[in-house]
Amino acid sequence: MSIESTYPLVVQTVAAEAAVLDRAAIAGLGITQVGRVYGRTAADFAAEAVRLAVVDAGLTLDDVDGMLLSNGITGGVELRLARDLGLRNLRLLSNVIAYGATATAQVQIAAAAVASGMASVVVCVHADAPLQAPGTSSGGVYSGAARTGAAKGLAAMAAASGVRSANNGYALAARRHMEHYGTTSEQLGAIAVAQRAWAAMNPLARFRDPITVADHQASRWVVEPLHLLDCCVVSNGGIAIVVTTADRARDLAQPPVYVWGAAQCHPGYTMARDSEFGLTTGAAIAGPAAMAMAGIAPADVDVRELYDCYTYTNLVTLEDYGFCAKGEGGALAASGALAPGGSLPTNTGGGQLSAYYLWGMTPVSEAIIQVRGHGGDRQVPVHDIVLVSGNGGTLDHHATLVLGSGPRS
């Protein structure tokens, strides 16, 4: 069954149900030092991020009654963090895993928990420390396949067939999009250029020097059709988010960030004849479903914070969310609409491509900053409705959030 044929049913279903998630709001955000920060474990980053988020909200750890944890690739963010932080009698505690869609999913689950009364203050945290020492290859830490020596069975055959890193799967997806729709490398480059322009205004961004499409074209191939500047950075650090009830959030330290809509889609690509891999993603279902829950259309969205492990991921998500027709994401990117001053400000902190890569916490954190109006030089003037995406696996898992600066009417 195709994503397109499934979509109307899903949206009708969501629209027919009364949304309850708007009883929840994001009240706290904690971001540790991110990037090339060495000598600390993922658990160290996670603990600090939780403390920062709770303080940011104007709460204490004694107010926390739920925690949702997320590991990157190094692991170590374990349930015992709750005990280490002295959290007693939690009413919700779990590890959540949907790869790059995890952070968005954590906030969704936390919002559902507080909206239902299952918990009242839930901290969502993600931390990772893949960069262990100066000189470590940042991309190499994401390569899982054996490079030398004997390997066993069909898994070894997969490694020989190109299943060697996340880059390879996304290169296949991007190439399929390029073949089918005529998307060009220069159009992908326009996304990298736009996000770098945003990153120049983000003090947390790893790369802040402007780049051009020519720079993108001249950057080395990683896996064709992906240049180095099509690929995200790799970062150490931790980010935590406090979710509580909207009523409580109004009395806390920060402007509340209201949860208007949420949806997921895990397409389960058949990887056989008629598979839509590379062409259409779970965003085509989750996006419209989340917007239907929020009672909005794409034209109502002020700011987009979209998962951008690669330039292509951002492009295909823009299409699937309905910001342009299918196949026209390349033209949209080349138009400059996504860049500072453009009509569709997107990935306003520089995203994973230029700022920092902490899985889905990258887009979620920048969304909170923008909704609050705390974006400094990069603040988008109108920031009432922000759309956030998470994407995991090789386009296998998608989660969408619609966040608002005020209560959903």
């Binding site: 020989a160 190109g162 060697r164 004849r273």
Partner: protein, 136 residues
């Protein structure tokens, strides 16, 4: 980058017995008849997938060029220091991710007719690779 070779395990033994004969095996559900790529472990209703011979013909869906050192010279692209790989949609329906050999990446395109051949990286088990069907 030398020394990469593939060894069989119990689960893959029938598959590699076939590749040694120049035959590609796929998985088929004895219940519903669905045919899957070789690494599929189960169908919706049952786990006892059987092996079935494939035609070895298909078309290219998508491809990419990895600029890491090839795992073995038998997997290298025409320039010797990159490797080309992609999905071939087999005539039976499943996509098979394979190294692509004997092809300048410049001639590849979606829909290109492909044929499955076999190479033995490092002298280990034979694995399927995709090559464009020679024209004329």
């Amino acid at each position: 980058m030398s020394g990469f070779r593939i060894e069989r395990d119990d689960a893959s033994a029938p598959f590699f017995d076939a590749t040694a004969r120049g035959v590609l095996l796929l998985r088929r559900c004895p219940g519903c008849g669905a045919v899957y790529a070789p690494n599929r472990q189960r169908c919706r209703d049952r786990d006892d997938l059987e092996w079935v011979e494939a035609s070895g013909k298909g078309v290219l869906v998508t491809w990419a060029v990895d600029h890491q050192d090839p795992l073995d010279p038998s997997l290298a692209g025409p320039d010797g220091h990159t490797s080309v790989f992609g999905f071939v949609e087999l005539a039976e329906g499943p996509w098979l991710q394979v190294p692509i050999v004997d092809a300048d990446p410049g001639v590849l395109c979606a829909g290109l007719p492909m044929v499955v051949r076999f190479v033995r990286p490092g002298g280990g088990e034979a694995i399927p690779v995709g090559a464009p069907v020679a024209d004329g």
